[in-house]
C-alpha cells in the first residue's frame, strides 16, 4: 500500500537555484519513490502570506506535509541523502541507510 506524499516547494521567483531544486527533487522522487505524490510550487514574492503561515525563512524550502511528521528541507536539494532523510524515504531505498552510516562514521 503506497503512502501518498503531499509536498510544497517554496521558491523566490524563477531562478537557476529554484530550477535546480525542482530538478533535483523530481529526480529523487522518480528514483526513490514510485508512489503518488502531489507537489505545489509556491513563489514567496507572490504569496507572502503562505510563507508566513508555513513559517518559511529560506528558499528553496521543501516541506513534507504528509505523511507526518512535517519536515522541512532547506537548500537546492543537491544533498540527496538529506532529502531522503527528510522525506522518510531512507528505508525504502536500497543501500540508502548504509550510505548514511558510512558518512557518519567517517
Amino acid at each position: 500500500m503506497p503512502v501518498k506524499y503531499v509536498l510544497k516547494l517554496y521558491v523566490t521567483g524563477v531562478t537557476p537555484r529554484s530550477q535546480a531544486a525542482l530538478k533535483n527533487l523530481k529526480k529523487i522522487l522518480t528514483e526513490a519513490y514510485k508512489g503518488v505524490y502531489s507537489l505545489k510550487v509556491i513563489d514567496v514574492v507572490k504569496q507572502p502570506k503562505l510563507a508566513e503561515d508555513d513559517k518559511i525563512l529560506a528558499t528553496p524550502t521543501l516541506i513534507k506535509i504528509l505523511p507526518p511528521p512535517v519536515a522541512k528541507i532547506i537548500g537546492d536539494l543537491s544533498d540527496r541523502e538529506k532529502v531522503l532523510l527528510g522525506l522518510d524515504l531512507v528505508a525504502v531505498v536500497g543501500g540508502g541507510l548504509e550510505k548514511i552510516n558510512e558518512e557518519t562514521n567517517r
Binding site: 514567496v44 502570506k49 508566513e52 525563512l57 529560506a58 522541512k72 537546492d76 536539494l77
Partner: protein, 489 residues
C-alpha cells in the same frame, strides 16, 4: 543603497519610553536601526515591546514585530502583564507579527545554496499590512543560530536594513552580549546594520539588581553621555536621564533672603538664607535638624514659596505626624500643592532615580525651597562618598540655575559633649568633602552643663552674607523652635 538617506541630517524619533528619549537627547535615530545589546534578563525585549506599544498608542505609528525567539502567542501573553493588549492591536491592523520563532519541525539543510528572501518578503508583507513606521527584531542571535549558511543571513540583514531605511522605518533590534568583552561584531553585521548601539546591563546591589544602560554609539545625533539607570515597572521602562548641566549663571541673589520664620534665628542670618544657597545643617541625632527644616518649609509656604521635602531618614508619615504635633498640617499642604515629599529605598539607593524624583517633585509644584533630610543617608552601599558628592553637585547645579534654596541635613556624630571652652573643636563637617559645594553651615550641638543637656546653634559660614558669629541656645517646644540667649560659659 544609502542614496536616499544621505540627503539630510539624521533626525530623532520620540519613542515615548519614559526618560529614554531625554537620555538619548530626543529619541532614537529616525528611519534608522538601533541595536540594543546586553545579557540575559537586562530588559532588551521589554524595551522593544514598549517601543512598539507606545508608538502605536501614543504616536499612531504602527509596528511590526519580527521574532526569532519566542513565538507570537507567548509574546502576546507576556506583555499582558504591562497591560498591553496586543491581540486588540493586531485585530485593529496596527500591529503585525513576523513569527520566525524556532519550530519543533524536523529541519534539514540539503546544500548551502539558499537565501533568506522569504524573510524579507514576509517583513515587507507585514509592513504593508499595517503601514508600519516602527519595527523590532528580537534577536539577531536567534536568527544566526538557525542556519548554517551565515553569509546568507548577513546578506539578508543587509538587504533588510537597506529596505527598511528606504521605507523610512525606524528599527530597534537586539543582540545578546555574552561575555564581559565588547563583542559588538559577534555576527559581523552589527556595525553595518545599526546606526546606534545601546548596551543594557544588570548589576548586583545589596538586596536587588540595578539596571543600567549606556549609549555606545548614535550615528549623526547627539546623546547625553554617561550611564543611566532605569527600572522596569508594571508599566514598562522608566529611565532616569542625567540632568543636563545648564551653563546658566547661578540665580543666587544675596538680597533676597529665605527665612525660617523662627524669631531670633532670621536676625542671626541677617534676614535668612540668601536665595539659591545650599546650606548644611549639621548636628547629632536629636539636635533638631528636621525641626529647623520644617520651619523653613512652613515659612516658605506662608510666603507663597512651595517646598519639597526629601525624606531619607524617617518615613514621610512620621514626619507629617511630628509636624501636626506642632500645628502644621503637611497633609493639607500636600493636597493643596504647596509641598511634595520624596522618599527612597535606602538600602539600594539609585542616584539617578533619586535625582529624577527630586527634580520631578520640584518641577511638579514649582518649588523654591528644598530639604534633603539627610545627606548622610545617601552614603549607602551603592553610593560612596564620591558618588554622593557628584550627586549633590548635579543637584545643586540644577537648584542654582533655578534659584532654589536648599537645606541639607548632615548627621554629625562628633558634636556631643564638647568639653568646656571647646564647643566647636571636633566638628567634622568636611568629612564628606562637601565644603566647596556648601554655601553655608549651621551647626547644632548638645552640651552637658549643670546636669542638663543644652542645645546650641552657631552659624559657621554663610557665603556673601553677614551673620552673627555667636553661639546661641535654643529649645524645641510645642509649636516649634524657640531661640534663646547668646550662650556664654
Amino acid at each position: 543603497m544609502q542614496s536616499k538617506t544621505k540627503k539630510g541630517i539624521v533626525g530623532k524619533l520620540f519613542t515615548g519610553i519614559e526618560g529614554f528619549d531625554e537620555a538619548l537627547d530626543g529619541g532614537v535615530p529616525k528611519g534608522r536601526s538601533t541595536l540594543i545589546t546586553g545579557g540575559t534578563g537586562t530588559g532588551k525585549t521589554v524595551i522593544l515591546n514598549e517601543f512598539l506599544y507606545k508608538g502605536i498608542t501614543q504616536f499612531k505609528e504602527n509596528g511590526v514585530y519580527v521574532t526569532f525567539e519566542e513565538n507570537k502567542k507567548d509574546i502576546i501573553k507576556n506583555v499582558k502583564g504591562f497591560g498591553w493588549n496586543y491581540a486588540a492591536l493586531i485585530a485593529q491592523k496596527k500591529l503585525a507579527f513576523v513569527d520566525a520563532s524556532a519550530l519543533r519541525d524536523v529541519t534539514f539543510e540539503s546544500g548551502q545554496n539558499y537565501d533568506l528572501s522569504p524573510l524579507i518578503e514576509r517583513v515587507k508583507y507585514a509592513l504593508k499590512k499595517v503601514k508600519a513606521k516602527r519595527l523590532v527584531i528580537d534577536s539577531l542571535g536567534g536568527l544566526f543560530s538557525r542556519f548554517q549558511n551565515k553569509d546568507a543571513i548577513r546578506q539578508a540583514l543587509y538587504q533588510l536594513t537597506a529596505k527598511l531605511k528606504d521605507l523610512g522605518v525606524t528599527v530597534l533590534m537586539t543582540a545578546e552580549k555574552t561575555g564581559p568583552e565588547q563583542d559588538l561584531s559577534r555576527y559581523g553585521v552589527e556595525e553595518f546594520v545599526a546606526d546606534g548601539v545601546i548596551e543594557m546591563e544588570l548589576i548586583k546591589g545589596q538586596q536587588q539588581f540595578l539596571r543600567r544602560m549606556f549609549v555606545i554609539k548614535l550615528r549623526g545625533t547627539g546623546f547625553r553621555s554617561g550611564i543611566v539607570e532605569f527600572v522596569i515597572t508594571n508599566q514598562g521602562l522608566c529611565v532616569y536621564p542625567k540632568i543636563p548641566i545648564e551653563k546658566l549663571i547661578a540665580k543666587t541673589d544675596f538680597h533676597v533672603r529665605r527665612g525660617f520664620g523662627i524669631k531670633g534665628l532670621d536676625d542671626i542670618l541677617s534676614g535668612g538664607i540668601p536665595q539659591g544657597h545650599m546650606v548644611m545643617i549639621s548636628g547629632n541625632t536629636g539636635t533638631g535638624k528636621t525641626m529647623f527644616s520644617m520651619h523653613f518649609l512652613r515659612q516658605g509656604m506662608s510666603e507663597g514659596d512651595n517646598g519639597v521635602f526629601v525624606a531619607l531618614e524617617e518615613p514621610v508619615e512620621q514626619i507629617k505626624k511630628t509636624a501636626l504635633v506642632h500645628g502644621w498640617d503637611f497633609n493639607r499642604d500636600e493636597k493643596e500643592g504647596r509641598i511634595s515629599f520624596v522618599a527612597a529605598n535606602l538600602i539600594d539607593i539609585s542616584n539617578d532615580k533619586l535625582l529624577y524624583q527630586i527634580i520631578s517633585a520640584v518641577e511638579g509644584i514649582n518649588a523654591k525651597r528644598v530639604i534633603i533630610d539627610s545627606i548622610t543617608s545617601l552614603l549607602s552601599a551603592t553610593m560612596n562618598r564620591e558618588q554622593v558628592r557628584q550627586f549633590l553637585i548635579q543637584l545643586f547645579g540644577y537648584f542654582k540655575a533655578k534659584g532654589i534654596t536648599c537645606i541639607m541635613n548632615y548627621l554629625s556624630p562628633e558634636n556631643f559633649g564638647a568639653v568646656r571652652g571647646q564647643l566647636l573643636s571636633s566638628i567634622a563637617t568636611n568629612e564628606m568633602g562637601l565644603s566647596s559645594i556648601t554655601d553655608g553651615i549651621i551647626m547644632l550641638l548638645f552640651v552637658e552643663r549643670a546636669q542638663k543637656v543644652k542645645k546650641l546653634l552657631s552659624v559657621l559660614k554663610m557665603r556673601g552674607s553677614q551673620h552673627s558669629k555667636e553661639i546661641f541656645s535654643f529649645e524645641i517646644e510645642k509649636g516649634g523652635i524657640k531661640m534663646g540667649e547668646k550662650y556664654e560659659e
